[in-house]
């Protein structure tokens, strides 16, 4: 990786080899182990693991979206869970409409929770969610627009660092309270669940789940390439530059506001997509996804994996959630100790995360990742 960032090595054969390898493992090996390896064999991946893996991939995409703005542009959003949840809700609304008359009250016009709140007709913001295309459009649009408006307000008036982090947190907190309200028309605390099928495929069928999983793989792969393209471009270097010395970039004549706004919005859309893929695989969306704690956790995945390295975000998200899944089952009484300790230790011992550590340990030169600047 010589001649850093001058366009060659970033897309070099070394990269493609690794990338294809990962994709093959995820998109080919896993299905084979799931479908054709006899379930009793040691390497078999039972059906119940598939949606779990799919969930990790969604989290990975979410972490990726945060790393793009935090690791590269120095914008720590503590409200990124909000974009994830909004994407999820858009998908959830579509899935609710698919239930049709199979609900508890069998009402052809309204979802159950509206029936029980005595609503007479479908509120306007639910129109169109019977159509998948509309839902997909919303998955990108709703988080994107929110990010655009919020970002425009914040970046234009140069809200930075902690102030930005805290108001993003305020944003997701406000959204959480709003979605908890039953009168909002999004199912209140119960959120939306008991989905039946998506595009006509039964969500309870293992094959549907495998399909969703593969879509998640594709989304993550595409998201990764996109982020890599951005960070490798000149814009990527502008972002790094403004992460380290914002006003200096202004004196060079770049519009910091626009650059930030661009990646922030893009990142929000990615988060929304992650959320949309997450919902059908876990089978429920509800307001606790908006809780500030969740958003902080995303930041933790990123820093565990290695902030400022795209692969780090993915690795971090997967590992932390694997640990969580495992510990909540294996050590239900003490897992918080372990997880807490993990976070403390990573920040103290490997400030650049796992990938950062590996990079240092091996010949790989960190590309524009380290050293991280003092906090923004």
């Amino acid at each position: 990786m010589s001649l850093l960032g001058q366009g060659k090595s970033v897309w070099g054969p070394g990269f493609w080899a690794g990338f294809v390898a990962c994709v093959v493992v995820l998109a080919v090996v896993v299905p084979i182990l799931n479908l054709w390896v006899p379930p009793n064999s040691a390497v078999a991946i039972p059906d119940y693991l598939v949606p779990l893996l799919g969930k990790y991939l969604c989290y990975a995409l979410l972490a990726l979206s945060l790393d793009l703005i935090w690791g590269y542009a120095g914008i720590l959003s503590l409200g990124h869970g909000a974009f994830f949840a909004l994407g999820g809700y858009c998908m959830g609304m579509y899935l609710m409409r698919q239930i049709g008359t199979r609900g508890v009250y069998g009402n052809p016009l309204l979802p159950d929770f509206m029936v029980f709140l005595n609503w007479q007709e479908l509120p306007w913001f639910w129109w169109g969610f019977d159509y998948f295309a509309w839902a997909v459009a919303m998955v990108a649009l709703v988080p994107g627009l929110l990010a655009l408006v919020f970002g425009w307000l914040a970046f234009r008036s140069r809200v930075t660092g902690v102030y930005l982090s805290i108001i993003t947190q305020a944003m997701t907190y406000a959204l959480m309270l709003a979605f908890f309200r039953n009168d909002m028309g999004f199912g209140g605390n119960n959120g939306m669940t008991d989905y039946k099928d998506i595009l006509g495929w039964d969500l309870h069928q293992p094959n549907t789940r495998l399909g969703l999983y593969l879509v998640s793989v594709a989304a993550l792969g595409a998201g990764y390439l996109l982020c890599r393209f951005i960070t490798a471009s000149k814009l990527g270097r502008v972002l790094l530059a403004l992460r380290d010395a914002e006003s200096r970039v202004r004196f060079l004549g770049y519009s910091v506001t626009n650059a930030k706004l661009f990646v922030f919005t893009l990142s929000a859309v990615l988060a929304g997509i992650a959320g949309a893929l997450y919902v059908p695989q876990v089978g429920i969306i509800n307001p606790s996804e908006f809780s500030p704690g969740n958003s902080i956790e995303i930041a933790i995945w990123v820093s565990v994996g290695g902030r400022g390295t795209l692969s780090g975000a993915i690795v971090g998200a997967v590992l932390v959630n694997l640990a969580k899944t495992w510990l909540t089952g294996a050590a239900p009484e003490t897992w918080l100790f372990v997880l807490g300790a993990l976070f403390v230790v990573t920040t103290l011992v490997i400030p650049h995360g796992i990938v950062g550590l590996l990079s240092r340990a091996r010949w790989v030169r960190p590309r524009a990742a380290a050293p991280l600047p003092a906090g923004e």
């Binding site: 876990v282 694997l322 897992w335």
Partner: protein, 426 residues
């Protein structure tokens, strides 16, 4: 550096396969799942229920286990995170192959695991009073339905005995249980001729901690001359600040009685009750019930938890009943196969700590007695009123228009939890 990712992914896969692929179905043991939050907001209430099941398992193993096998409890922590509930349920059923799951507290957690249990044909015992409007073939509801708690409580407050209340505040946390309960109560009160302007419904967010405004509002609503009562469906955490405010604002039970549906001995243990004496709660069991079964139950609990100060409460009793019924059913069916056990659970009778023989009906709900207790200074309840006999739960409320004609009956010819006509015609 992509190599680094590559290596990381491999390590991840390795890590994953270790714990996740461990599907050891050890012979000679019957596994049961315990799905209660041990961390997060709901840990406050649910941890006790986890211990209750462990106590029952401990007990049954002492007595030689089930079908000659030891019973092994698989405890997991869904961490008050609703999607995680679904995920853990799937784990328990698919990975650990548990015969039955005891778990959930909040409605949303139940709603979140329901599809999983139905898909994998698992069995869930749900021990908490809830809003009804549900009867799944894969869930046994051992807590109270609205007609076993809310309606009797309100009837009591209307009676001269209860102070013949004429004006009502329905105070609740904004989620489905209070919403449904209050909806039923509103319909019920109107049916009883209460004027709409004499009913005040208010919802607050979870963990609402500043009750000044609301308590003041209740006070002024109550000052209209008519006898006023408060029906509280306030959820867990928010209760302590609510009662502290209530007590300090000098609202006496003799002026404005408050009857709560989510406040039991466990919750009272977190409140100084000296100034709350006389406020009420409606349950199907109180620790202060006097009968041998209950004394044995309490003793068993204190011995197990090794702390004579710990209290028992209604959901614990529900788990006690549920576990016994399941165990009896397994003995009868001679297997842990879900379909066989389910059939055997119908009509199971258990002499409950409440002092009544409680029976599981074919609508998957119990027949339970209803008791009204007055809070005492020592954190216990005085039972001031109780039903002569047990009451059968209505899964669907006769007071709700949308429930018209709905029947929950999983026996022939209905075989359905949500139908207006039998599935089979003889």
């Amino acid at each position: 550096m992509l190599k680094t990712t590559w290596y990381a992914v491999v390590t991840a896969a390795a890590l994953a396969s270790a714990p996740l692929a461990a599907t050891a179905q050890t012979a000679g043991t019957i596994k049961i799942g315990v799905l209660h939050s041990l961390s997060g907001t709901m840990a406050i209430s649910e941890t006790t229920l986890k211990d209750t099941i462990l106590m029952m398992v401990d007990d049954i193993n002492k007595k030689g286990g089930l079908l000659g096998k030891k019973v092994e409890a698989v405890v997991v922590d869904p961490a008050s995170n609703w999607p995680l509930f679904a995920e853990k349920a799937r784990d328990l059923l698919s990975k650990d192959k548990v015969a039955v799951v005891f778990g959930c507290w909040t409605s949303v957690s139940r709603k979140s695991v329901l599809p999983v249990f139905e898909e994998l044909n698992g069995l869930l015992f749900y021990p908490v009073q809830y809003e009804g409007e549900e009867s799944s073939n894969n869930v046994f509801y051992t807590g109270a339905a609205p007609n076993q708690q809310a309606i009797p409580a309100v009837e009591y407050l209307m009676s001269p005995e209860g102070g013949s209340a004429k004006r009502w505040v329905l105070e609740g946390t904004d989620y489905v249980y209070p919403r449904t309960t209050n909806k039923i109560l509103e319909a019920f009160l109107k049916a009883k001729g209460v004027a709409p302007e004499d009913i005040k419904i208010n919802y607050t967010p979870f963990g609402h901690s500043d009750w000044q405004t609301e308590v003041a509002a209740i006070k002024s609503f109550a000052s209209a001359g008519k006898k006023t009562a408060v029906v509280s469906t306030i959820n867990g955490d928010a209760n302590v600040p609510f009662y502290k405010e209530l007590a300090n604002a000098g609202i006496k039970a003799s002026d404005i009685p408050v009857v709560a549906f989510s406040v039991g001995e466990e919750e009272l243990a977190g409140i100084d009750t000296k100034n709350l004496v006389g406020h009420l709660a409606a349950w199907n069991y109180f620790q202060s019930v006097k009968n041998p079964t209950n004394e044995a139950f309490i003793k068993q609990w204190h011995d197990f938890i090794k702390n004579p100060k710990r209290v028992t409460n209604d959901p614990m009793e529900a788990h006690y009943i549920g576990f016994k019924m399941w165990a009896h059913a397994v003995e009868q069916a001679g297997t842990t196969d879900v379909d066989a056990v389910r059939q055997a659970v119908y009509g199971q009778k258990v002499k409950a700590p409440s002092g009544f023989v409680e029976i599981m009906n074919t609508n998957h709900h119990l027949s339970k007695p209803v008791m009204i207790g007055e809070i005492q200074g020592n954190g216990q309840f005085d039972i001031v009123w109780q039903t002569k006999d047990t009451i059968k739960a209505d899964a669907w409320s006769p007071y709700l228009a949308e429930d018209k004609g709905k029947v929950a009956d999983w026996s022939f010819p209905w075989v359905c939890g949500n139908c207006t006509s039998p599935r089979y015609t003889d």
